[in-house]
């Protein structure tokens, strides 16, 4: 167990900068999740921590030691590779045993741990097969098993559940959670699955283009994105952005002119937004914070026309056209009876509104919202 520290970490491949100056503290016993778009450098960061790539610049500390020049096998880590990297000539059992054998684990402990992990991963029956005789999801579980039997200082997991079905994935997630609670091993985890990120992480690091955009507790980052990238990246369907010009209405209250309509800015943002008066500002609202208000007009209620109804099981996503012409998404109850072409009134939940600077993408309300949360 150890904390991991990345200082100004840079990794360049010939002409690509995969990791572009990352600084991050991964506390001991924490569960840190990296998320970010495809190709943003998550895997590379993991590989740097593992010692499989040499940092072009910057420093990596594990425990209190700078490990830049330590080899992977000296770093005491276990890793789940995105592409599994199973040993094709070894059986599942041998694949899982190997790491333990390398660390001189006593035979009985090996047997025990492998049996345990296999059960947990529901691959007990596959132990004598070769990887080529396994399905994709089974291979992935073996890859995961190979890591969790170990008792390393740091776990590195690169999308370890991506090929599992939803049900198994929920189970595995729960198992990983339990495992982490039991062992408290510092874990760095890459996933593209929001739910996984939200439920597993102590801290979540959102990456883009080789850089970390925001770090923090998952719910915090979700509800207080630092910038439009983070806001748009987290959540599915992603946050709606509506551009408008900030002005004061006759009553002196701030409002956003979004074309043919206006949107009332809640009072508490007065301080932050005042300076943007007359400027372009982007309003952000998540689909799930939009509800259908069929009762009658109130504040921040926008009329719209339903264009697409997309039932997704537990919810139904509507694509609705605002009167301004812009299309936004709303996630509503699956029992809804609205149909394509229906006219609806959208209510934006006022507690969930975000405002951004369209130039820099920075959130204008980040500080105030975080404060709110903290004082709450």
């Amino acid at each position: 167990m150890a904390h991991v520290e990345l200082n100004d970490l840079v990794k360049e491949f010939d002409d690509v900068t995969a990791v572009d100056g990352i600084s991050l503290d991964i506390p001991d016993e924490s569960f840190t999740v990296f998320v970010g778009p495809s190709g943003c450098g998550k895997t590379t960061t993991l590989r740097l921590i593992a010692g499989l790539e040499r940092a072009t610049d910057g420093e990596i500390r594990i425990g209190d030691e700078v490990v830049n020049d330590r080899r992977a096998y000296e770093r005491d880590i276990a890793m789940v590779f995105q592409n599994y990297a199973l040993y094709p000539h070894k059986t599942v059992r041998e694949n899982m045993r190997f790491g333990l054998e390398q660390h001189d684990t006593p035979e009985d402990v090996i047997t025990e741990r492998v049996t345990e992990a296999a059960e947990l991963l529901q691959i007990q029956d596959l132990l004598e097969r070769k990887p080529s005789e396994l399905s994709g999801g089974q291979q992935q579980r073996v890859a995961l098993g190979r890591a969790i039997v170990r008792d390393p200082a740091v776990f590195l997991m690169d999308e370890p559940l991506s090929n599992l079905d939803a049900k198994l994935r929920v189970q595995m997630r729960a198992e990983l959670n339990k495992l982490h609670e039991e062992l408290s091993t510092t874990t760095v985890y890459v996933t593209h699955d929001q739910v996984e990120a939200m439920t597993l992480a102590d801290q979540i690091a959102v990456m883009d283009d080789g850089q970390i955009q925001q770090v923090g507790a998952p719910t915090h980052v979700y509800s207080n994105p630092r910038n439009m990238f983070v806001a748009g990246f987290l959540g599915s369907p992603s946050m709606n952005f509506i551009e408008g010009t900030l002005e004061r209405d006759s009553a002196g209250k701030l409002q956003l002119d979004i074309g043919t309509e206006t949107h009332d800015v809640p009072d508490e943002f007065d301080d932050e937004l005042e300076s943007y008066l007359g400027d372009e500002v982007v309003l952000g609202i998540r689909p799930e914070n939009i509800s259908l208000n069929q009762d009658g007009i109130a504040a921040n209620v926008h009329p719209a026309t339903v264009q697409v109804v997309e039932p997704q099981g537990e919810k139904t996503v509507l694509e609705v056209g605002l009167d301004t012409g812009q299309t936004i998404k709303a996630a509503v109850d699956p029992d809804t009876t609205v149909q394509m072409g229906d006219s609806v009134n959208l209510r934006f939940d006022r507690d969930s509104l975000q405002y951004f600077d369209p130039q820099t993408g920075e959130s204008l309300t980040y500080e105030s919202k975080s404060e709110q949360k903290l004082t709450a």
Partner: protein, 309 residues
């Protein structure tokens, strides 16, 4: 695509195996069947070296070569020649194959590294194999020359030795000279086969192994070796097959001498069949060699014969 072309394409596709395997089989069969039958056939005849008179003798040729017809100096009833020549062959093949394999593996691993200029190293390392064996044999004969050879020159002129060594007058030394020459000539072969084999090792498995805590040796054993196995099989098998019947170096360097102390199966066979003009016994020896080779290859197959996937 026209249907005609398509059906041709399909037909060709169905014939893939016959078309790819057929010609080779025909080629090999066409040119092997007769000589092989001839070999087996000849081995049960005895030809008088003087007048060429042939006589069917069944397995007597084998009996004579392998088992002593009574007499002294036999080991377990085996012919002394057979025992001593087998031993020489074993020493010659065993030493030169194992040493050159170890050396070749080491060099191949070095050359597999991402080194600048490894292209030149590779070429430099192959060269001994490109030279005609006869030339190499003569070269080593010259190197080991008792008076003017470079080896003696170095040893005496540097003061390591006070008097020169007559390498080719001593059975053991002559064998050593042969083994050295053989290693010199054939190590490049091992290097090349193993180097090609190393290209099949998926890089990501090294990563996985490193993360699993595997050091250099363990990575070799657990990742490199399984993928290298087919190439090791090829390298060792061909190397051993070549060496068991290698004649050129022995013939050029020692002709089996001094006395018979460097006589090996190959030179024995050659001498018997060609020099002594006793094709029947030569053929019998050939059959024995064939069987021994088969045996060795079968063992090698056992040990190295599975693919990594």
């Amino acid at each position: 695509m026209s249907t005609e072309k398509q059906s041709l394409r399909r037909k060709l596709d169905r014939l893939f195996v016959p078309l790819t395997v057929g010609p080779t089989m025909l080629w090999i069969a066409g040119i092997i069947v007769y000589p092989t039958l001839k070999l087996l056939w000849s081995s049960v005849f005895w030809t008088n070296p003087i007048d060429g008179q042939k006589e069917f003798v069944g397995l007597r040729n084998f009996e004579r070569l392998i088992f002593a017809e009574g007499g002294s100096g036999t080991v377990f009833g085996l012919a002394p020649d057979f025992v001593s020549i087998t031993w020489h062959t074993f020493v010659y093949v065993g030493l030169s194959v194992s040493i050159s394999f170890a050396l070749g593996l080491g060099i191949a691993l070095l050359l597999d590294k991402d080194l600048k200029g490894r292209g030149w190293f590779r070429t430099a390392v192959i060269v001994p194999w490109i030279l005609p064996y006869v030339m190499s044999g003569l070269m080593w004969r010259w190197m080991f020359n008792s008076e003017y050879g470079a080896i003696n020159g170095i040893l005496t002129q540097s003061g390591l030795l006070s008097s020169k060594i007559a390498f080719f007058s001593d059975g053991t030394l002559a064998m050593m000279a042969l083994v050295i020459a053989d290693i010199w000539v054939f190590t490049p072969f091992i290097i090349i086969i193993l180097l090609a084999g190393l290209q099949n090792v998926p890089e990501q498995l090294y990563d996985a192994a490193e993360v699993d805590g595997a050091g250099k040796v363990s990575r070799f054993v657990n990742v490199t070796y399984p993928f290298l196995k087919p190439s090791i099989l090829v390298a060792l098998t061909i190397r051993i097959i070549f060496d068991i019947r290698a004649l050129d170096l022995v013939w050029v360097m020692t002709q089996g001498g001094p006395g018979k102390s460097t006589e090996v199966w190959a030179s024995w066979l050659y001498r018997t069949a060609q020099v002594f003009n006793r094709p029947g016994e030569g053929a019998a020896l050939g059959v024995v060699l064939l069987a021994v080779t088969f045996l060795i290859v079968a063992v090698l197959y056992r040990v190295f014969g599975e693919s990594p996937y």
